[in-house]
Structures are given as structure tokens and as C-alpha cells.
């Protein structure tokens, strides 16, 4: 289908037992998103099922209502992008940039997530029950991200605010050029990026992780098993002595 035709589509979905149902083997991504957006001013259906996603891109993007959306299968790029308020569960793997620039709400990936999960997200909670690829939490601006598996290289690059907790291992250059995001890793860290250092795990950090686990519904992790990483704040202002770090 051409991009032009996509613009012409109108909202179309079925309601099954009070649940809005969009079958992407029949309907389009445009149908889905328009139906979800139409709930913003007048919410008539709170729960939504998305069937046969088959890796389609841009599923449930720009949702700005307290909807509960279940995507039954794998999703492509930018699933749940810029989410506000909604609780979105992907029952499968996701492509690049899941929950990118999320503002609030909850996005849960039952499988693995590709690169740039939670990129630049400002708020809300992203839970990845499998592994996440490279650049998980890149430029994060307040979102909390919990990865039950491992994360790839350059994760939390230029992380500004929020929490990235990794129950598995972290790849190379974790937290490179970090600002004020908090990073917790239970397993090994292949290497730390520029200006990222291991820091003392104090009581407030145990409390922060405990609260994150509760919100994410994680019951099999002990915050005391994690190490904390943060910014050394040595690159915040340019100094010629640090030129080698750039």
C-alpha cells in the first residue's frame, strides 16, 4: 500500500466483549492509531487488542489517553512511541525505538527489544522482560527503564535523567557522556563510557531500585545485588585537560 493511500484511511475497528479490536491482517496501522487517538477527547473504549501485528511499524504511537492496549505478537519500529498515559503490552519482540520519547504511562515488552529502546523518553516506565539491544535508554530524559535481561553497547549514552536498571549484563561504553541518569547493573559491565564511573550504592539507591521493582512487578530481584553507575561530572564544562576524553 502506498504512503499516500495510508493518509486516506479512516478509523475502523471491531468491539468484542467491550474490547476494541484491530486486526492488522485486515485493517491498517492508520486505522489503529486513529482509533486510539479518537479516544483522547471522548474515551468510550478503555481496553484494546491488536491482532496480527506481524512486525508492523509505528503501532500505538502518540496515544494520549489512559488506555490498556495489548499487542499480540511482534512489533516493528517505534511501537508505543511518544506514549502518554497508556499501558501498552507487547506480547512478543519489538523493533527499534520502542517507547521512544515516552512521556508517561507503562510500556511492557514480553520479549526482546531492539536498539534504542526508550530513546529520549521523558517519563513513564518501560519494562523489557527479555534483552535490549544497543543504545537502550539513549538520551533518556526522565523515563525509568527496567531490563530483565542484558543491554547492548552504548546504553544510556548521554542519559540525562531517570533510571536504567539492568538485571543482566551491559555491553561496551555504558553511560558514555552521562548527565544525571542513574544506572544500576546486576551483572558484568564490559566497559564504561567517557565520564561514567561506578558509585557507592547507598540506602536511597536501594530504595529507588526497590520502588522501581515494585512498579514493574518484579519480585525475583534483590536491589543489594546491583552496582550503581553515574556521571563523574568531569566533562560537564570544557577543560583542555580533558581533551583526550572527547
Amino acid at each position: 500500500m502506498s504512503t499516500n493511500n495510508l493518509a486516506e484511511q479512516t478509523s475502523a475497528f471491531e468491539t468484542i466483549n467491550g474490547v476494541g479490536t484491530v486486526d492488522l491482517s485486515v485493517q491498517t496501522v492508520r486505522d489503529l492509531n486513529q482509533a486510539l487517538h479518537d479516544q483522547h477527547d471522548d474515551m468510550t473504549i478503555e481496553k484494546w487488542d491488536v491482532l496480527n501485528p506481524k512486525g508492523h511499524h509505528n503501532l500505538a504511537v502518540g496515544v494520549n489517553q489512559k488506555l490498556k492496549i495489548d499487542i499480540h505478537g511482534p512489533a516493528g519500529y517505534y511501537c508505543a512511541g511518544m506514549n502518554q498515559e497508556a499501558e501498552i503490552t507487547i506480547h512478543g519482540h519489538t523493533g527499534q525505538g520502542v517507547a521512544e520519547n515516552m512521556m508517561s504511562g507503562l510500556v511492557r515488552v514480553k520479549g526482546n527489544a531492539s536498539s534504542a529502546a526508550g530513546a529520549t523518553a521523558h517519563g513513564g516506565l518501560l519494562v523489557i522482560e527479555g534483552d535490549a539491544g544497543s543504545r537502550c535508554g539513549i538520551s533518556m530524559k526522565g523515563v525509568d527503564i527496567l531490563v530483565k535481561g542484558s543491554v547492548g553497547h552504548m546504553s544510556c549514552f548521554m542519559g540525562q535523567a531517570g533510571v536504567l536498571a539492568v538485571c543482566g549484563d551491559a555491553g561496551e561504553a555504558l553511560g558514555d557522556s552521562l548527565y544525571e541518569a542513574h544506572i544500576y547493573v546486576k551483572g558484568s559491565v564490559k566497559s564504561l563510557g567517557a565520564d561514567c564511573i561506578e558509585k557507592e550504592m547507598r540506602a536511597e539507591h536501594i530504595e529507588e531500585l526497590t520502588e522501581l521493582f515494585e512498579r514493574a512487578g518484579v519480585t525475583d530481584q534483590d536491589p543489594r545485588d546491583f552496582k550503581r553507575y553515574g556521571s563523574a561530572r568531569q566533562l560537564y564544562n570544557f577543560k583542555v585537560d580533558n581533551a583526550g576524553a572527547y
Binding site: T3, H57, Y77, Y78, M103, A116, R135, Q160, A161
Partner: protein, 444 residues
């Protein structure tokens, strides 16, 4: 005069190691830091002054200057968007961030642009209420940093501009030094106050044109396909970049030449990366024409536009509209000689001041200092900008009518000749008085 002095040679300045070069070597040796500054390329480049219009005479009919209409309106973004932007004049205000500029300056840009029916553009740092409130048509930039990016503002925008680069620093990210990261700027960007902000040079969640196509569809989905999506590139490999931008789904392509300004970056970047605006336009137009998309995907050109002649020349080369940044700041009052004494105190002079990153702009425009900001009146600034935009438009119309055109977009390369071989080759128009376009097969 002694015999010895009589036969001494006159002191000769090296063309290679001139005073500016040697001063920069000494500055580098003193500080160990590269020079950071604002504005665009200051070196002499082939530019629109090297082109001339062939006014009508026997072989062409001119239009009456004061009686016959010359249309200036343009529609941008009618490829996919349900609500394209309708501009009354084809001169828009380029993206300049709140942070780089004061909130009052952003407000003035909105006031001036709205008064003449054109658009203004946000910048790296988000959308301020002052700017949205005063801009009837506001383009929201989508930048690698995503500072202040949120879907609510995205939906308030009249268009979205995905920024891949800018002419002053193609391949480089934004820079806003700690002096300008005040509480408000820090909050909008989620940064610690006073930190030197160095934005990423590439987007965090896509890595190539195929990804960008998906990203653009995401933005369209979020905004329900309502508003146009622009792609902005710094002028380098313009032919290929424009082709890829069309393929990625752009409604409008913005090409920013190396004379285009920036709030701050390394001087070496500004002066040594990119190509002149004039050289970029024919590449962009060729790419669009080969794809059958010229005038269907609109082309906005920026970088060193100063007067109506520059506007008309860009349009004759095939642009649908232009954007101005540095010139708009000057119209607001930047580098005004009335602040000469203070420019001198900063080690500069009116007309040369470019340390916008330091936040000490005497004109109160490129600053976040509350006392300096008070010097700038956004209402008066808006009035000055509107006046300037009107003059640009009138000048461009004057030239178009002289060429017999009743619409600025009817100007064409055939209306132009070049003064130099270089400009003839870059603009792909004949050297004046000849039919020779360097690099192209000669036809008579």
C-alpha cells in the same frame, strides 16, 4: 634617509600566514581550546552577488512595476499533509532555539513573521509559549537532542522539520555553553544548570534513510497526517541527500548552505565544512527534477540570504521559498552600531560580533541575561522584522517584474547570468555575455 634603509624591502605580510591566521595560532597556543563562535562562514565565497538578472527588453516583456501583480504566495507541504502551510511571502524564518536566543527575541520573530503571513521555526530546545503565541505559522524542529520534544507541542505545530544538519556545521551537533543554561533553559532541556550542552550530531533512534522513512511515518501517525514534514540538511552532497529525502517521504526539503548561521560551534567547522548555498540549489533542483518531484516536494533554501535580489536569485534557480536567520537577527537589532561601545568592551565591533554563545550580547537578543534581555523590545523587534521582510518581498517582486514574471516562482535559470567562471559553474547559468556554462556541453 640612510643608505641602509633606502635599500630595505617594504615589510610584506604573508598571504598564507596573514594577521588573522597568526593571531589564531597565538590564541590556540595561549588557551589550548579551539575557537567557538556563532554566525556562518565569514570567508569570501561564491555567492549570489556573482549572479545578475537579464531584465526584459526586446525579446522579453516586462511587467509594470506598480500596476501589474506579481504573486508571492506559496503552498508548502501538499504532498501528503492534510493541512499544508500557506505562506503569503516565500521568505520564512529559520530555526533558532530558545536558549540561543532570548524568549523576547523568539517572540519578536513570531510577531514579525506573522505580520507578513509567513512562518517561523523553533530550534534545539523546544517550543516556548511566547513563540507559539505570536506565530500564526510555526514549524517545530525535530532534532537529534530531542530537547523539550513532546507530543503535545508536536500536535500544536503547523509543520515538523526533521533536522539532519545545518549549513554552518553539517555533521555536527548543537552547542550551548553553560553561560546560557539558565534555570528555564535547563528545565526545558532536562539538563543541569550551567553545563556546557553539546547536542548529539545524529538522531538517537534511526541510522539511515530507510529508518528515516519509518520515523517520518511515525511522526505522521502521531499527528494524524495533518501537518507537513520537512527534512533539513546542511549543504554537502546535496544531490544525493535530496533524493534520499524525497524517498524518505519529505513534503518539503530545506537545504542550508555554508553561509547559514549557528548559535555556536567551532570556527574550523563553520569555515571548512559544506558548500556555498548557490552551489547547492542546482544540485537539489536536479535531484527533484529527475524524480519528477520539482514543485511537488517544495524546496526551501537558506544560508546567506540578505536582500530581495538573493531571494529572487534563489527562486530563479528553482527554490520555492527561502529562510533567513542571521539577517533576521540583524533586522531585530543584532550588531547594531548603537551598541558599539559595548561591543568594543567585548573585544569586538558592531558588525563583527559573533560570540553569541557567551550570552553577553549587548543587543539583548542572543542572551539569557535578564538585564541584557530588557534592552530588547519584542514589539519593536517584530515591527522591524516585518518591515525588513516586506522590503525583501518588494525587491524580489521588482526583479521578477523586470524579467516579465507575474509570480516569483516563474523566475527561472534562463533569467540569470554569472559574473565569474566559478559562479557560472556552481549556479549552472552562463557566464555573462556568453552561452558558456562550465561543465556543461556548449549549445548555441
Amino acid at each position: 634617509m640612510t643608505e641602509k634603509r633606502k635599500y630595505m624591502t617594504v615589510p610584506r605580510e604573508s598571504a598564507t600566514f596573514d594577521r588573522l591566521t597568526m593571531a589564531e595560532i597565538r590564541r590556540a597556543a595561549d588557551t589550548g581550546i579551539y575557537d567557538i563562535r556563532g554566525a556562518g562562514a565569514k570567508r569570501k565565497l561564491p555567492h549570489f552577488d556573482d549572479l545578475l538578472f537579464l531584465g526584459a527588453s526586446m525579446s522579453r516583456y516586462p511587467l509594470e512595476g506598480y500596476r501589474e501583480k506579481c504573486n508571492t504566495s506559496v503552498t508548502l507541504g501538499n504532498r501528503f499533509a492534510k493541512k499544508p502551510i500557506e505562506l503569503e511571502i516565500p521568505i520564512t524564518i529559520a530555526g533558532m532555539s530558545f536558549g540561543a536566543l532570548s524568549a523576547y527575541a523568539k517572540e519578536a520573530l513570531g510577531r514579525g513573521a506573522s505580520a507578513v503571513g509567513t512562518s517561523t521555526t523553533t530550534g534545539d530546545g523546544g517550543m516556548t509559549p511566547e513563540e507559539r503565541g505570536q506565530s500564526t505559522k510555526l514549524v517545530y524542529q525535530y532534532l537529534p537532542s530531542r530537547y523539550g520534544m513532546n507530543p503535545d507541542d508536536l500536535r500544536k505545530a503547523d509543520a515538523i522539520e526533521v533536522v539532519l544538519g545545518q549549513g554552518a556545521k553539517p555533521g555536527g551537533g548543537g552547542m550551548l555553553l553553560g553561560q546560557k543554561i539558565t534555570d528555564r533553559v535547563a528545565k526545558m532541556r532536562t539538563l543541569p544548570k550551567g553545563v556546557d550542552q553539546r547536542s548529539a550530531c545524529r538522531h538517537p533512534d534511526w541510522t539511515g534513510p530507510d529508518d528515516l522513512e519509518i520515523k517520518i511515518k511515525e511522526l505522521r501517525e502521531i499527528t494524524d497526517w495533518q501537518v507537513p514534514i520537512y527534512i533539513k540538511v546542511g549543504a554537502t552532497r546535496t544531490y544525493y541527500d535530496v533524493k534520499l529525502a524525497v524517498k524518505a517521504g519529505a513534503d518539503v526539503i530545506v537545504v542550508d548552505g555554508m553561509q547559514g548561521g549557528t548559535a555556536a560551534t567551532q570556527d574550523v567547522f563553520i569555515e571548512h565544512v559544506g558548500i556555498p548555498t548557490m552551489a547547492a540549489i542546482p544540485q537539489a533542483v536536479q535531484a527533484l527534477q529527475e524524480m519528477g518531484m520539482h514543485r511537488k516536494v517544495q524546496l526551501i533554501v537558506s544560508g546567506g540570504i540578505r536582500n530581495g535580489a538573493d531571494v529572487a536569485k534563489c527562486m530563479a534557480l528553482g527554490a520555492d521559498a527561502v529562510a533567513i536567520g542571521t539577517a533576521a537577527m540583524v533586522a531585530l537589532g543584532d550588531n547594531d552600531p548603537k551598541w558599539e561601545e559595548e561591543y568594543q568592551k567585548l573585544g569586538s565591533t558592531a558588525g563583527s560580533y559573533d560570540d553569541w554563545h557567551e550570552g553577553r550580547d549587548p543587543a539583548g537578543i542572543s542572551t539569557q541575561d535578564p538585564e541584557l534581555m530588557k534592552r530588547f523590545d519584542p514589539v519593536e523587534g517584530g515591527r522591524r522584522l516585518a518591515n525588513y521582510l516586506r522590503v525583501l518581498t518588494l525587491e524580489a517582486q521588482t526583479l521578477a517584474r523586470a524579467c516579465g514574471k507575474n509570480d516569483l516562482r516563474n523566475l527561472e535559470p534562463e533569467d540569470l547570468v554569472a559574473l565569474t567562471v566559478e559562479s557560472a559553474a556552481m549556479a549552472r547559468v552562463p557566464l555573462a555575455g556568453t552561452s558558456w556554462i562550465p561543465g556543461q556541453q556548449q549549445t548555441f
